[in-house]
């Protein structure tokens, strides 16, 4: 029997072996290594040598104007898109839940951005917003109907570029939020609503006292994942403004990490590691704060 047990142990590990190999090589080892990189000062990619150990990389990154720009952009993006997209998604889901005709059609349409290539549709958004020598672009045409514009949203003022980035980000994240909130709303027990209706409760009060508490766990889930996702924004910005985000003043923290790693300003894995760890620390802190707030306010 003892031998049989040994066989079982071996067999279990054997089935796990491929997963362990891949995870070890491409997740566990890199996770340790990124911290080591971040403390190695003066690391040279070509000779793979370094001069000392310390916090210089962090201080260098924190004093880099490009990093500070990226930090500012990312925070603005997070603060605008997370609440706005969650709110719009809630309104859309409430609307979807109150209808039966065409419901499936709307759900299908709303989900489309999830399965479309971010870079590809970003190009379409760029065309819609861009002002060129040939044409002011469609958005400016619409602005002209109201006697405004033209504004160059892609190469123009900072706020205009930030507006497009936020707009596109919200457009991209909406499918996931609508999907989650629609199923959360559909899951609320109808008995509560029937009871409230019998009592003659006003629709607003029903929403405030029944719907909102019942779906609050899902709203907080969306807020938390929304924060995490928005802090890691990158490809949306590339899709709109091209790969040279520093020149466009539109870089994000993740963009900064990749720029330090590879490309025109690249070859500095130490700076990239320090920036990535700073990003992780920020995301971790915000997630913890979110969890603490949700513990106080979410009704399970």
């Amino acid at each position: 029997m003892a031998g049989k047990k040994g066989d079982n142990n071996l067999k279990g590990w054997l089935y796990l072996l491929p997963a362990l190999l891949f995870l070890g090589a491409f997740m566990v080892y890199p996770l340790v290594d990124v911290f080591i990189y971040s403390f190695e000062e003066g690391y040279n990619s070509a000779s793979q040598t370094f001069m000392g150990v310390g916090l210089y990389n962090y201080s260098r990154v924190l004093h880099d104007p490009y990093f500070l720009q990226a930090l500012k952009n990312t925070f603005i993006l997070v603060i605008i898109t997370v609440p706005l997209s969650t709110l719009i998604a809630l309104l859309i889901s409430l609307g979807l839940n109150s209808i039966t005709t065409l419901k499936k059609f709307f759900q299908t349409v709303y989900f489309l951005p999830y399965v479309t290539n971010t870079l590809a549709v970003g190009l379409v958004f760029m065309i819609l917003f861009k002002k060129t020598a040939y044409s002011d672009g469609l958005v400016n045409l619409m602005l002209a109907w109201f006697g405004k514009g033209p504004i160059d949203f892609i190469d123009g003022p900072y706020w205009a570029k930030m507006f497009v980035l936020c707009f596109y980000t919200i457009w991209i994240v909406m499918p996931f939020k609508v999907l989650i909130l629609t199923s959360a709303l559909a899951g609320v027990n109808q008995d509560y609503y029937n009871a409230a209706r019998v009592d003659g409760t006003s629709p607003f009060r029903i929403f405030h006292k029944i719907t909102l508490p019942m779906i609050s766990p899902m709203i907080f889930y969306l807020v938390i994942t929304g924060f995490i996702g928005a802090f890691k924004a990158y490809s949306d910005a590339v899709a709109l403004f091209g790969t040279n985000l520093n020149a466009a003043q539109m870089n994000t923290i993740v963009g900064y990490v990749y720029d330090k790693l590879y490309g025109d300003g690249g070859g500095y894995p130490s700076y990239a590691s320090a920036a990535a760890i700073i990003l992780f620390a920020v995301v971790f802190t915000i997630t913890m704060i979110n969890l603490a707030i949700s513990k106080k306010n979410v009704h399970y």
Binding site: K11, A19, F26, L102, V115, L261, L279
Partner: protein, 288 residues
Amino acid sequence: MNDFDQISRSARARKTAVRAITYVLLGLWAVMVLFPYYWMLLTSVKSYSSYNAEYVPTFFTLTPTLENYVSAFTQVPLARYFLNSIIFTVITTALMMAVIVPAAFAFARLQFKGRDLVFSLFLALMMIPNELVIITNFQTITNLGLRNSFPGLILPSVTSIFYIYLLRENFAQIPDELYNAAKVDGTGDFKYLTRVMMPICKPTIITILILKIIECWNSYVWPRLVTDDPAYFLVSNGIQEIRENGFGRENVPAMMAAVVVISVPLIVLFLIFRNKVMEGVSRGGIKG
């Protein structure tokens, strides 16, 4: 007319009004979502000269042309990017299945020392963002001389702990009796896995396959880091390349044709497997 009639009539009128407003708002958002797709299709069938002659863009065209699709395939290596993405997606997805199915089986069914500890470690690893590990992976792949190669693209993209977790949960729901009966019949573990468990869990497996295919087809960051030779570009990088150095001049209609070509496969896949995709995503897929 009495009071009751009046009240019920006004209540009905208000209900109709609320319903109408709901439909208008939902319709507006549907237009917001669909418009970029319409615009890319429309622009892709406008001829180069007519597109550039429009100072004020028109909302329709009476003379659609397919010439942009021809230029998309002849003037830039779109077919190459497309093929690369197919190769990348197929191999990565197949390798992933070969890795996650045995792992999920081991966690769900086999008894061995250290199983629960390793499983907890896997769950903890799920929290690690890709951005933290990509730096070393880039160095590893560079040091191995695998930049601009399929192994370099594929190997770090294979594992997805979340799918191991999803499949394990599904495997664990299969009653023990089936396993014990198979044991009595002398069926080996591997045969039991492939003949009994996988067919039972087919819906979950299909969901995982589709989510992985979407992820592979849209992946941009890793391919951008490890490939700078256009011969190995995937569609996302291809689009970026077309945009930055593409058709020599700003040929927007041809760019839009390329965008349509690379967007169609996933949209078709989604429309066929609509419920599977939406169910899979709501069970824990996040964009990215």
